[in-house]
């Protein structure tokens, strides 16, 4: 068998959820502001951009790839859609579509390099990371794009359910997760994504067009980064050429915390949402506790290890 994979312990599907609940329980004891609907809604809004990026990232990691370019491609998308809408005066919807088209094209480029020339995804996306960053800076002249039409930031608006404000963008993110989860679980193409990551050669031999699936995954990821760009525009109200710089690592962290194996073929996409939430809850909870920012970093480091270790040890115990 594929012995390599045995090295990465399969973080059980439930493990990340337990870690998240433990973190929530802990913060609830520390601050009575934590477990309010409003605060939790806030955390959701804070993770929505990384959350949507993590969908694309999960797809790629499931195929045993990795995408370092995700954050920068998202930044490019948000600059393109905002500049098109303001400077070119395009209708907002069209401008958004153009932005998403650009990120999708970047996904296509990544995918073609990976499938046609068979370059390692790490190298390809390291290259496109730099390319997307440079284009973003050049095209925007490093200027933040402001004065956006109302329509573009609509996903940042909130509506009220039972006294709690919910952002439309959060609803969009949750919807995308459900669709991705359904597609990966219940459709043939989704299972093929797992199969390609699990054993590319076996999958090819059963006659599944593995290259086309890989390409599709990269294109789809680019599409999700475009949606993330829209959410980021909606959330901040501007097109920010410096966005996305920390999102690469954040998204990969969310995916791995969510239990998806970096070696491909194993994982549940909803875990990535949980992973993103774990990071968001830490940041929020520690601030509520009044932990100063350097100590927050220290504590985050320790807690990330503890969360996964607790999961791992509980697995061992139950074996």
């Amino acid at each position: 068998m594929n012995a390599l994979k045995d090295k990465l312990p399969p973080l059980g599907t439930l493990g990340p959820v337990i870690a998240l609940l433990m973190a929530c329980a802990f913060f609830a004891t520390q601050s009575d502001r934590f477990l309010t609907g409003q605060n939790l809604s806030l955390v959701l809004q804070q993770v929505m951009v990384v959350g949507v990026i993590a969908i694309g990232q999960t797809l790629i990691i499931l195929t045993a790839g990795i995408d370092l370019s995700c954050g920068m491609v998202m930044a490019l998308g948000s600059v393109v859609m905002t500049k098109f809408a303001t400077e070119l005066g395009m209708p907002p919807a069209l401008a958004v579509l153009c932005g998403i088209a650009v990120t999708t094209l970047f996904g296509l480029a990544n995918g073609l390099l990976v499938t046609r020339i068979k370059l390692p995804p790490f190298i390809v996306t390291l290259g496109t990371l730099n390319i997307a960053f440079a284009i973003t800076q050049l095209y925007s002249q490093s200027q933040t794009i402001t004065d956006l039409p109302e329509l573009m930031t609509g996903l940042g608006n909130t509506f009220t359910i039972g006294g709690t404000e919910v952002a439309w963008g959060v609803v969009a993110m949750l919807g995308l997760y459900l669709v991705a989860w359904f597609a990966l679980r219940e459709t043939a193409r989704g299972r093929h994504v797992y199969a390609v990551g699990n054993s590319p050669e076996a999958t090819r031999l059963t006659g599944i067009p593995t290259q086309r699936i890989l390409l599709g995954v990269y294109v789809l990821a680019g599409f999700f980064y475009g949606i993330a760009a829209l959410l980021s525009v909606a959330r901040t109200g501007v097109g920010d050429p410096n966005a996305g710089q920390t999102e690469n690592l954040d998204a990969i962290t969310a995916v791995v915390l969510g239990g998806t194996s970096l070696f491909g073929g194993r994982g549940v996409i909803l875990g990535s949402l949980v992973g993103a939430l774990i990071v968001g809850v830490f940041r929020n909870g520690l601030t509520l506790m009044g932990v100063s920012s350097v100590y927050q970093i220290l504590v985050t480091g320790i807690l990330v290890i503890l969360a996964v270790a607790a999961d791992q040890l509980s697995h061992k115990a139950s074996r």
Binding site: M1, N2, K5, F182, E186, T187, A188, R189, R191, H192, Y194, A195, N198, S199, E201, A202, T203, R204, L205, T206, G207, I208, P209, G265, R266
Partner: protein, 266 residues
């Protein structure tokens, strides 16, 4: 019913196949002929090029030279997909299963069933229930005592895993079935079940290519025996006429092709 005479039409044919891996020449001008409705055994020493031959026939590798004909028509398989489209199903020696996926998923990998109606046509939802039911039926054919079809293949014993691959090929073949050492890891009972399955497939009218090192198995089911040697076809033998020891002699090179009595050739 042991069909196939020398006059049955050729289903799959290869002429002068050459495949090189760097310095190593795995196939060195190999010929191959599979006739309608027959079980053709392919035997040969380790490294004789048997797996390489069937990989070329099933599109898993593209030969460097030579041509392949399906039903008399030249055909170029650039990938296993092409071969699958042409109805050729293959059990590869290295099993070609996805270890982290369940038995049922592996059985239907690439040929998943969709739900009827809206759910399947529009939402493209899989019919997991039906696939599970059919998996159980298929695996029961082979009488392997596997408890659950939803366990990952990586938790199976070596022989159980092989049964998954065999069941898959037998279930989905339309035109030709190729099996590379399907009984190698199997127990006596399970091995016999697979032989039985091979006969049933042949009786459905599909020709079968069986690669095996197990001479009793070969002599039990084969209609003709293709002997591979040093990347070539050394001879095609008639198991009804030739003895097992002579066959081994041909295979190991102890008996030269010219010395084989003419009536033993097939």
């Amino acid at each position: 019913m042991t069909a196939s005479s020398n006059t049955a039409p050729l289903v799959l044919q290869a002429k002068g196949l050459v495949k090189r891996y760097g310095q190593v020449t795995a196939l060195d001008g190999a010929d191959f002929e599979l006739r309608a409705g027959e079980i053709l055994a392919v035997i040969g020493d380790n490294g004789a090029g048997k797996s390489s031959l069937i990989k070329a026939l099933s599109g898993a590798v593209v030969p460097d030279e030579g041509e392949i004909l399906l039903d008399g028509q030249p055909i170029h398989f650039r990938s296993p997909i092409d071969a699958r489209r042409a109805g050729i199903e293959t059990v590869y020696q290295d099993l070609a299963v996805a270890p982290a996926m369940t038995i049922a998923e592996n059985l239907f990998l690439g040929r998943e069933l969709r739900r009827p109606g809206f759910m399947g046509n529009v939402l493209r939802m899989l019919d997991k229930k039906e696939m599970l039911a059919q998996s159980i039926a298929r695996m029961n054919d082979l009488k392997v005592g596997i408890r659950s079809m939803t366990q990952p293949v990586e938790t199976l014993s070596g022989g159980q895993r092989q049964c998954v691959a065999v069941a898959r090929a037998a279930a989905f073949a339309q035109h030709v079935v190729i099996m590379d050492e399907p009984t190698a890891a199997l127990g006596v009972k399970e091995g016999n079940m697979v032989l039985e399955l091979i006969r049933r497939v042949r009786d459905k009218g599909l020709p079968v290519v069986l690669i095996s090192h197990n001479m009793p198995h070969v002599f039990e089911v084969a209609d003709r025996i293709h002997v591979a040697r040093l990347g070539k076809r050394a001879a095609v033998l008639n198991p009804k006429k030739i003895s097992m020891s002579d066959t081994v002699a041909v295979m190991t090179g102890a008996m030269r092709a010219e010395d084989i009595p003419a009536d033993c050739l097939a």
